[in-house]
């Protein structure tokens, strides 16, 4: 094996592994994006025959599963592993080999999922990849209704990637707790690190219900167990409970790393410290805790009692409070600042508007009666794409433009960055603003086609056109990365005039990060160095 490739394969360096995670996530993102484009092509016209039903059903299953487990989660792992040691003044993660293990088992799980296209068998020989939806409700997933092995590929790949995620989470927590540099009390950690700590803690509680459910499903399918076998008295709803006990915290696990990036970028580009840092930390912990008690808002139509529905409705509205507070804090950070509109900040501003809308549609969905109408419809599809694309992905793209210079020593092109941003904004809104209305007009989700005359044709056509712009935007990003790696402007240590420890290292950082482990006195050590006349530690 050529020695450079060999280095990457055997590396235990957190920076290399971080880059591997993020690069893999981007590749899976492109793949899942293609799957989505195919679906939107099929749905652009009523009664289209571009894709038969079984292919379409596999597409939405693979698209959802990929985006959640093979894009969202590795972005968390990649960012956390790359930046945490740098931000806390350490030389690597607490367990570098565990880090490598986590990456490779994640990659294997992802490949296993896609291997199903080649080797899995589906219903009556029709299918290959899993086609049960990304949350795979029982008893559709039981042997009787999902013959062949395609569902098993789904189960096994999720178990594997789940182990990888748990390994990352343990590593992140141990690193943050045990390896902060001198003077960096928990209160002085960057918000990014705080958010990653909370996310990792949530992973510890949220992943096991998923793993348990998968194991139970596997036992049902192969050893004749009856966990979700309704013929034997098993409960289909129990699967839903177990899944959503994982699934709801999961969406916060996906989103919080986006908040982490926004909380680093917005202050720097507003030239002000985060407004209300303690409240931000408190709100984050609040979200972490509250989010584990609201899962059944995914199950309002299942037939729970009125009291249960009311509890989950109110609790779900309540968890919107700390989330909303964060928006206000970011707003307060920008207010009175001197805002620079470089690409990282553009993406964060897009995030703020879009996440505001996403949060509001979330509050709407918490109103159980409204949810009875729009759950399992395109309204909810629009809502969660607003959260994950309009919210998370925008912050992740912002993060890419912000930290790419640190990781590679080269700046990404601002011009291409702006093209990327604006094309994505246009495409995103064309697609997802319209889909809210399709849901209100009764269009359910996961349908491979629809009849004309239901009021859905125009909306779907517009939504499909949006894909073109989104694809063009992502193409700009890919081109930007390739071009900048070769001839990007040299970045220097601190291209953005920022304040956290990673900007005190070279770009890219040397293998050992810091020649001398730093000692800090505030949450913005570089601000203190650059402004000795007005250091933060006087006010914290």
């Amino acid at each position: 094996m050529p020695s450079r490739l060999h280095e990457w394969v055997v590396t235990v360096d957190h920076k290399r592994l971080g880059i591997l995670y993020i690069a893999t996530a981007l590749i899976f993102f492109a793949v899942a994006g293609v799957l989505a484009a195919l679906m939107r092509l099929q749905l652009a016209y009523p009664n289209a025959t571009f894709l038969p039903p079984d292919v379409f059903n596999r597409l939405f299953t693979m698209h959802g599963t990929t985006m959640v487990f093979l894009v969202g989660m590795p972005f968390f792992a990649g960012l956390a592993n790359y930046l945490t040691p740098l931000m806390i003044g350490a030389r690597d993660m607490a367990f570098p080999r565990l880090n490598a293990f986590g990456f490779w088992i994640f990659l294997f799980g992802g490949i296993l999922l896609y291997l199903s296209y080649v080797t899995g068998e589906g219903l009556a020989g029709h299918g290959t990849a899993p086609d049960v939806g990304w949350f795979a409700y029982a008893p559709l997933t039981e042997r009787a209704f999902s013959r062949g092995t395609s569902t098993d590929y789904w189960i096994l790949s999720i178990i594997l990637t789940g182990i990888g995620t748990t390994a990352s989470a343990i590593n992140v927590i141990a690193t943050i707790v045990s390896m902060r540099c001198k003077g960096m009390t928990l209160a002085r950690m960057p918000l990014f690190v705080w958010l990653m700590l909370v996310v990792s803690s949530m992973v510890l509680f949220a992943l096991p219900p998923l793993t348990a459910g998968q194991v139970m499903l596997l036992l049902d399918r192969y050893l004749g167990a009856h966990f979700f076998d309704t013929q034997a008295g098993g409960s289909a709803v129990l699967w839903q409970h177990f899944f959503w006990v994982f699934g709801h915290p999961e969406v916060y696990i996906l989103m919080l790393p986006g908040f982490a990036c926004a909380s680093e970028i917005i202050p720097v580009f507003s030239r002000k410290p985060m407004f209300g840092r303690p409240a931000m930390i408190g709100a984050t912990i609040g979200i972490g805790m509250l989010s584990s008690g609201v899962w059944a808002h995914h199950m309002f139509s299942v037939g729970m009692t009125a009291s249960s529905n009311i509890y989950f409705a109110v609790a779900s509205m309540a968890v919107g409070i700390p989330t909303g507070i964060k928006i206000f804090n970011w707003l307060g950070t920008m207010y009175g600042g001197k805002i620079r509109f470089d690409t990282p900040m553009l993406f964060c501003i897009g995030f703020l508007f879009q996440f505001l809308i996403a949060g509001l549609t979330g509050v709407m969905l918490a109103v159980a009666p409204f949810d009875w109408q729009v759950t399992d419809s395109y309204f909810v599809v629009a809502h969660f794409h607003y959260v994950l694309l309009g919210g998370l992905l925008f912050t992740l793209f912002g993060a890419l433009y912000y930290w790419f210079p640190k990781a590679t020593g080269k700046m990404l092109s601002e011009t291409l960055g702006k093209w990327h941003f604006w094309l994505l904004v246009i495409g995103f809104h064309l697609t997802f603003d319209t889909l809210h209305f399709a849901g209100i007009l009764g269009m359910p989700r996961r349908i491979y086609t629809y009849a004309p005359g239901r009021g859905w044709e125009t909306l779907n056509l517009i939504a499909s056109i949006g894909v073109i712009f989104q694809a063009a935007g992502v193409a700009c990003l890919v081109w930007n990365i390739i071009r900048s790696l070769r001839k990007g402007k040299p970045a220097g240590n601190d291209p953005w005039d920022a304040w956290t420890l990673e900007w005190a290292t070279s770009s890219p950082p040397s293998d050992y990060n810091f020649a001398v482990l730093p000692e800090v006195r505030s949450s913005r050590p570089l601000w203190d160095l650059k402004h000795p006349e007005d250091p933060d530690w006087r006010y914290e």
Binding site: V177, L204, A225, F227, G234, L238
Partner: protein, 206 residues
């Protein structure tokens, strides 16, 4: 607070003013990691326990717990006392008494093996005499999965203890008290889980 003078990393002396940071000690990373592991394992076992409790009395047919289950007193004594023996081994290793460490680790392994042997006997009795398997009814499903999940954790623990024992024989365990402590913690955790499983399956569920 008295002002103190602390040496920073480059060796220059620096007055730290009112911020007294004489020592910067953070928790041991191994302990933090194992604690995280317990959290996640606790969550995992909880789901199987919830499933067990949810399905109590809901089997449509087949043998019921009260008809086939007997309290595994001997197995419980073995497992719980193995917590004591592993603690003795841990203390021995800390004070470098390698021989004592080996003996008590060996005893722990034997007690753990006896626990598993008991489980195997119980299961073969259930399968052969009562025809209770994981696919018989909801009781069979939840019983074998919960007890089996616990037993698999015991097995993993035993393999690690065996590894420690063999390393002890080769003289490689000297100075590894910190690591063995983590293994001992894991073993205590597995025992604590057994208390919960025992209560749910053999006391409440019957």
């Amino acid at each position: 607070m008295t002002p103190s003078i602390a040496a920073n990393a480059t060796g220059a002396l620096q007055e730290t003013g009112a911020l007294k940071q004489p020592e910067w000690t953070l928790p041991d990373r191994g302990r933090v990691a194992v604690f995280c592991l317990f959290t996640t394992e606790f969550a995992l076992f909880s789901i199987f326990v919830v499933a067990y409790i949810f399905y109590i009395g809901k089997s449509l047919s087949g043998p019921m717990p009260s008809q086939v289950l007997e309290l595994p007193i001997w197995a419980t004594i073995c497992l719980l006392s193995s917590s004591i023996t592993v603690a003795i081994a841990e203390r021995a290793l800390k004070s470098n008494q390698i021989q004592r460490f080996k003996v008590w680790t060996g005893v722990t392994i034997l007690l753990g093996l006896e626990f598993l042997r008991n489980t195997a006997v119980e299961w073969s009795h259930l399968i052969r005499d009562f025809h209770l398997t994981i696919s018989t009814n909801l009781f069979g499903t939840t019983f074998y999965s919960l007890v089996g999940l616990h037993a698999s954790h015991v097995a993993i623990g035993l393999m690690l203890l065996l590894l420690a024992f063999v390393l002890g024989l080769r003289g490689s365990m000297r100075g590894q008290a910190r690591r063995f402590e983590l293994l001992a913690w894991y073993w205590h955790f597995v025992d604590a889980v057994w208390v919960a499983v025992f209560t749910v399956v053999y006391v409440i569920g019957r």
